[in-house]
């Protein structure tokens, strides 16, 4: 049982929830850039929530099914087609042997998630299939490679899956300007009141320098009273302020420790929404706290457990 890669697209990788428990020896987590979309894809199929999927960045991927299975598609709308029929994200589809599944260009969002019933049947390295190319870990053969033309993606034995779709209220609109909460922390108090005010009242743009390690934003420069700090652990979603004052949000493939001052952190769900924004998108920040971020995550986890309606 497999999918054959006819065209690998710009960047298509195997991801699960990440390589946890090895950051103390410098191994980053990897994992889905948008946890919300990833988790819903597995949930729609009643897969284990950590089951490996494909993260499709930007599109131009084309797959040929060599067996029958069910898939769930979530996250960005990358102009997906099943044979010649356009298909929308946030729901499940039946796949028959010989079907072609293709993705063209971003219509809304940047990263789509493709889960198959039972998950991709790929090996784990250090407990995870998450692809981190820089560290040569994860993916189809465990060496961190992205998908290439001609690859065969092994699939688990599918289970019977009822047609399901994500509740309408849980589908984000990635085209909206992003307004996202920042939890103050790390070196927050080393940024003067005026710098914080500028940070929270400005509109930033997603720059062209975005990848799985970090999202560099451009806009009002922020300056604190520290040039560098003693290197410390960097959380997913932490916001570094380097000397040029342009914020960098650290994403899933970030280095484990670093020495730039940080003004705070996004929540994982907030960082996931940022990960769906392309260069030029508008981002602004509001002040939140750990309590609110925790509450929002617990609500998300609860809705996820409830699953699809009907």
């Amino acid at each position: 049982m497999s999918f054959e890669v006819l065209e690998p697209g710009m960047l298509t990788q195997v991801q699960d929830m990440g390589r946890l428990g090895y950051q103390h020896i410098g191994v980053t987590t990897g994992g889905p850039m948008d946890e919300h979309a990833f988790l819903w894809a597995n949930r729609l199929l009643n897969n284990p929530l950590n089951a490996p999927q494909l993260e499709i960045t930007f599109g131009r991927l084309s797959l040929l099914a060599h067996s029958d299975t069910s898939i769930a598609l979530t996250g960005a709308d990358l102009g997906a087609r099943l044979n010649d029929r356009p298909i929308a994200p946030w729901q499940t589809y039946e796949i028959k042997q010989g079907d072609r599944l293709s993705f063209s260009m971003p219509v809304a969002g940047l990263r789509a998630y493709l889960a198959v019933s039972g998950g991709l049947d790929v090996p784990a390295r250090l407990g995870s299939a998450a692809t981190v190319s820089r560290e040569h870990l994860g993916g189809l053969d465990g060496t961190g490679a992205k998908l290439a033309k001609g690859d065969r993606i092994p699939l688990a034995t599918p289970s019977a899956v009822a047609k399901a779709s994500v509740p309408y209220s849980e589908i984000p609109d990635y085209r909206k300007p992003l307004r996202v909460g920042v939890i103050p922390g790390y070196q927050y108090r080393h940024f003067p009141r005026s710098a914080r005010a500028r940070f929270f009242s400005s509109e930033y743009q997603v720059s062209k320098n975005i990848d799985r390690m970090g999202y560099r934003l451009s806009g009002e420069a922020i300056h604190g009273d520290l040039d560098g700090i003693i290197s410390e652990g960097i959380a997913y979603g932490a916001i570094q302020i380097p000397t040029d004052g342009q914020p960098i949000v650290l994403m899933k493939d970030r280095q484990t420790i670093g020495g730039y001052p940080k003004i705070g952190s996004l929540s994982a769900l907030g960082a996931g929404q940022l990960a769906q924004r392309a260069p030029g998108a508008s981002v602004s920040f509001y002040l939140t706290d750990v309590a609110e971020a925790e509450a929002r995550r617990m609500i998300f986890n609860h809705r996820l457990r409830q699953g699809a309606p009907g």
């Binding site: 946890l20 428990g21 090895y22 950051q23 103390h24 020896i25 410098g26 191994v27 987590t29 390295r125 250090l126 820089r134 560290e135 040569h136 870990l137 939890i183 922390g185 790390y186 003693i230 290197s231 410390e232 652990g233 960097i234 959380a235 997913y236 979603g237 932490a238 280095q255 484990t256 420790i257 670093g258 952190s265 996004l266 929540s267 994982a268 706290d289 750990v290 309590a291 971020a293 925790e294 929002r296 995550r297 617990m298 986890n301």
Partner: protein
Amino acid sequence: MRIEGVNENTCIVYFGDSICDETAGLVKQATDNIRATLSDVITDLVPSYTSVMICYDLERIDRFGIHTRLRQALESGAAKAQDDAAAQTLELPVYYGPEVALDLKDVCEFSGLSADEVIRIHSEQTYRVYAIGFSPGFAFLGSTDQRIAMPRKSTPRLKVPVGSVGIAGSQTAIYPSATPGGWQIVGRTPSKMVDWDSESLALAQIGDRIKFRSIDREEFIRLGGQFDEL
């Protein structure tokens, strides 16, 4: 000791504000302590020079619970005798020959010392692993003797060969994999710093002591050392 929240599933504990042996000892002790007593709720631990970042499973514990458990673990740990016995001293063979010591000449120029003197100073000291990061298994060792504490190169190399031993100011380190890097390269170890198929995964752990043993070309080759890159 200061415990601070970072996001919905992460907090960080600070043990001091400067890089020193005492703080590094506290970090090591706390890391061992947290690992031993909180393994049911933590998903990742990131110790560094003066802090330990803790990631936890929000389905198992919330922000109040983690603070309480951390306080309990760290206060009981503080009562324990300062015990560095668990930290091992690793002896690493290093070949300081001209084929692999890409920047030794520059370090000699910087320090006004001969190559033999630089090698002797670099290898006669015992270093402490203060932090691990940058890339898997990359251990930041301190502290380099002032006389050879040359700053990073102004333009980093695009690819530093595996096993390269470098100096950057008061720090020294081994490149466990071929990555870009700006450290002044003075030698190369034939030892594998990371091996995902071995039980230990990474040779050096935070808190360990490391001593370099100067070896000749023959021994370097016999231990599996490679010249082939760059």
